[in-house]
């Protein structure tokens, strides 16, 4: 019988305790893995979903609300600005492309986004490209003659079950202005997958207040300057104005990342404490197991087993528990990340549960080493077991 076989037999002998120890290790490891995967996934999702436009112009208020609302559709829309702001920016020689955005209600939770065809245009500097899986884009209709045509993001179409030609509205007051599906976009892995797009004229036509206004409202304007070096001057001018604020979307996201880094530090401390508790549990479990079988160890020694063999058996036992718990924890962490990712997807963040983080092998090796180390004290205890003392009659 090899040391490994004996160790496995011992573990099998106290199956419940062994399983509980391995599960506690697995829970600790999966907590670390899921935290790492989700933190990285959320960050990468923000980076991937970030707009290609360098400046977002909206009403005075919170820059974070403006970016999260307009780019990621994760917050309420900021107050309106005037459509003339867009016209002025469109004619500014420093501006290459200006795209108007109007955010409104939602259909089954999928946000209405009013814009024009420039939103879907392809430019050399754009990373994101839009392609239709069915139908066509809505028409850039004149304000007096809205067409109420809608283009659905891939996920919005999939979840609502709407098809080309379907007419829909949400709320009785919208029954007079149903939207007609004319196109469905291919997936873009961004918040646009969960949006319902239509023209600004339809947006104004659907809203009772906007219908009566001479100067039409907008939520924001996305800006791409001709020269990026003009960005600070545009940013300053629009912020000094009493009506508007201009925000660098990447700046807002970097501020969010800074806040996430603080939360990650706190999480790392909590995970370290969890790790210590798990290791202490392994130590306690192995220690009590060794105390329980002092007599068996003494018998083994009396039958000729060397002290080193006894030491090896206990160390291999804790190593096996650490390996099983560690591997189970990594797999469990990915499984939890998969379910958590599907929950996050509903709020517009697409995380990848199959992502592999370089920290995972480090965590696994550390757990195996520390788990084995936690068995060292019980192993020494077994090593020092006196044969004569422990083979004495029980009564």
């Amino acid at each position: 019988m090899t040391i490994l076989t004996v160790a496995l037999k011992y573990l099998q002998g106290r199956l419940v305790a062994s399983v509980l120890t391995a599960v506690s290790i697995a829970l600790g490891v999966s907590l670390v893995v899921v935290s790492v995967l989700l933190a990285r996934g959320i960050k990468e999702s923000f980076i991937a979903g970030a707009t290609d436009y360098n400046l977002v112009v909206g009403a005075k208020g919170s820059p974070t609300q403006l970016v999260l609302g307009v780019v990621f559709r994760m917050d309420l829309a900021t107050p309106n600005i005037e459509y003339t702001t867009y016209r002025v920016l469109q004619q500014d020689p420093r501006v290459e492309v200006a795209v108007p955005i109007g955010l409104g209600d939602a259909y089954q939770g999928f946000r209405y986004v009013a814009t024009n065809s420039a939103y879907f245009a392809t430019y050399p500097w754009r990373r994101r490209t839009f392609a239709l899986s069915a139908g066509r884009l809505f028409a850039d209709d004149p304000p007096k003659d809205p067409t109420y045509e809608a283009v659905l993001g891939a996920e919005a179409a999939g979840s609502t079950g709407l098809r080309i030609g379907d007419r829909f509205y949400e709320g009785e007051e919208m029954a007079e202005y149903p939207l007609t599906v004319v196109g469905i976009l291919r997936t873009t892995h961004s918040a646009d997958d969960r949006a319902i797009f239509f023209s600004l004229s339809s947006y104004w036509g659907m809203n009772e207040v906007a219908r009566g206004l001479t100067v039409k409202p907008l939520t924001a304007v996305l800006i791409r300057p001709r020269r990026l070096s003009d960005l600070p001057s545009l940013h300053r001018e629009l912020n000094v104005s009493a009506e508007t604020q201009a925000v660098l979307p990447s700046g807002v996201l970097l501020t969010i990342f800074n806040m996430m880094a603080v939360a990650e530090d706190v999480l790392a401390m909590i995970l370290a404490i969890v790790g210590i508790i798990v290791l202490l549990y392994v130590l306690l479990s192995m220690y009590s197991a060794t105390l329980e079988r002092k007599r068996e160890i003494a018998t083994m020694r009396a039958l000729g087993a060397r002290r080193a063999t006894v030491l090896g058996i206990v160390l291999v036992e804790s190593c096996v528990l650490a390996v099983v718990g560690g591997v189970g924890g990594v797999l469990g962490g990915h499984a939890v990340a998969y379910f958590a990712g599907s929950l996050l997807a509903k709020s517009g963040l697409a995380t990848n549960p199959f992502l592999f983080d370089p920290l995972e092998p480090v965590v696994l090796v550390s757990v195996i080493l520390l788990g084995t180390l936690a068995g060292l004290l019980p192993a020494v205890l077994a090593y020092r077991t006196e044969v004569a003392e422990n083979l004495a009659p029980l009564s």
């Binding site: 923000f46 980076i47 970030a50 360098n54 050399p124 500097w125 300057p225 001709r226 020269r227 990026l228 070096s229 003009d230 960005l231 600070p232 001057s233 940013h235 300053r236 912020n239 000094v240 660098l248 979307p249 990447s250 700046g251 996201l253 970097l254 501020t255 990342f257 800074n258 880094a261």
Partner: protein, 175 residues
């Protein structure tokens, strides 16, 4: 004879200690002295370099392809991983005070090979070290640029001063 052997051993030990002292004192000082050799450019130099006829002067072009250090404020004009950003003499967030924003002549287009991991602060000065390029060039993604730094490394420049036109760094100023 016995005394001669002892002397030999003392000499041998002395040599070992001398070599160890050399490595302990000299090698780290050489390694630490490395960054001093990187020339520091200032925004004042960049502005001066295109004063004459809107073309970049030969003096600033002589830095082309060489590693330089330059300090300024980060304007996150590119993706939020900061693999590309602008470095400006003026902060992007001084809306109601300070100086008016600067143009192409006081903006450096900074390219990093991968994501830059820093605690971003629009009001903090950062030191950028990388391969310098001067001269108008346009690329389809980032548009026209006059000054660029490629393969950039970014670090916080504690207590740094941004030099304007007419100001020069003190002779003992290190990057």
């Amino acid at each position: 004879m016995h005394r001669y052997r002892r002397l030999k051993r003392v000499i041998r030990e002395f040599r070992v200690w001398r070599t160890a002292t050399f490595f302990l004192l000299f090698v780290p000082s050489v390694l630490l002295a490395g960054p001093d050799e990187i020339p520091r450019l200032t925004f004042a130099q960049l502005v001066d370099s295109i004063r004459a006829d809107s073309a970049v002067t030969e003096s600033i072009k002589s830095y082309n392809g060489k590693e330089v250090a330059i300090q300024g404020f980060i304007v996150p004009a590119g993706p939020p991983d900061l693999s590309f950003f602008l470095l400006s003499r003026v902060s992007a967030l001084g809306n109601y005070c300070c100086e008016a924003p600067v143009g192409q002549d006081e903006t450096v287009y900074v390219f990093a090979e991968k994501e830059v991991r820093i605690t971003y602060d629009p009001l903090r000065i950062f030191k950028i070290v990388g391969a310098f390029e001067a001269g108008m060039r346009s690329d389809p993604i980032n548009g026209p640029s006059l000054f660029r730094i490629r393969n950039a490394r970014v670090e916080e420049a504690l207590g740094a001063k941004i030099f304007k036109v007419g100001e020069v760094p003190a002779p003992d100023t290190k990057p």
